[in-house]
């Protein structure tokens, strides 16, 4: 929420801003997976793109500034899946601990699948 007028932080059209940063990056595998999970879960009716956006918006402006695009997306995908009852927080906690115990890099932390 951006002060008195009620405009929310993500609603940026017309705001003052600086020069457009032109640098880009190739998407990493983990980012593509986040994207794929969003599309697949949407297709299966677990949540909608508006649900994705709503959770992103509710994270607030700090998250937009501090975290990358797909970091915010996985947080939002997870939030929506928890709300949809796809798994419990207990299950998530257990799985995240299990993943961390497998190795120190993304490649090493993959399961058997």
């Amino acid at each position: 929420m951006s002060d008195i007028d009620g405009r929310r932080w993500h609603d940026m059209g017309g705001q003052t801003a600086g020069q457009i940063p032109m640098e880009g990056h190739d998407f990493a595998l983990w980012e593509k997976r986040v994207d794929a999970l969003m599309v697949l879960c949407g297709g299966k009716g677990l949540f909608t793109v508006d649900g994705l956006r709503r959770a992103l918006e509710d994270m607030g402006e700090d998250a937009f500034e501090k975290h990358t695009y797909y970091e915010r997306w996985i947080a939002s995908v997870n939030q929506n899946l928890i709300e949809a009852g796809a798994y419990t927080l207990e299950e998530l906690a257990g799985k995240m601990d299990e993943v961390a115990a497998r190795g120190a890099s993304y490649g090493e932390a993959q399961g058997d699948g």
Partner: protein
């Protein structure tokens, strides 16, 4: 088509797809796009009513007044009918 409409000026909290910079502004319906689920319900996991969606065209003069970069340039946006008021 060509009908003049104003975007509602209210600012409720929540997931809304009518951008703040268009609220209270008057434009012209450019085309009707059909009916789509209301994002204000979909965003919270609810079954959604179908809402008519319109593409509305605004002049830069209307949006930004004297400070417009080029008054006759335009912005089109898609707005659901519950955000439109007759002018």
């Amino acid at each position: 088509m060509g009908e003049r409409v104003r975007i509602r000026a209210s600012m409720p909290p929540g997931h809304i797809r009518a951008p703040a910079y268009l609220r209270g502004k008057t434009g012209v319906i450019e085309r009707s796009l059909g009916a789509f689920g209301n994002p204000e319900q979909l965003a919270y996991g609810h079954a959604a009513d179908k809402k008519q969606l319109y593409r509305v065209r605004f002049t830069m003069a209307e949006l930004w007044g004297e400070g417009a970069e080029a008054p006759n340039d335009t912005v089109d946006a898609e707005i659901y009918d519950h955000w439109l008021e007759k002018v």
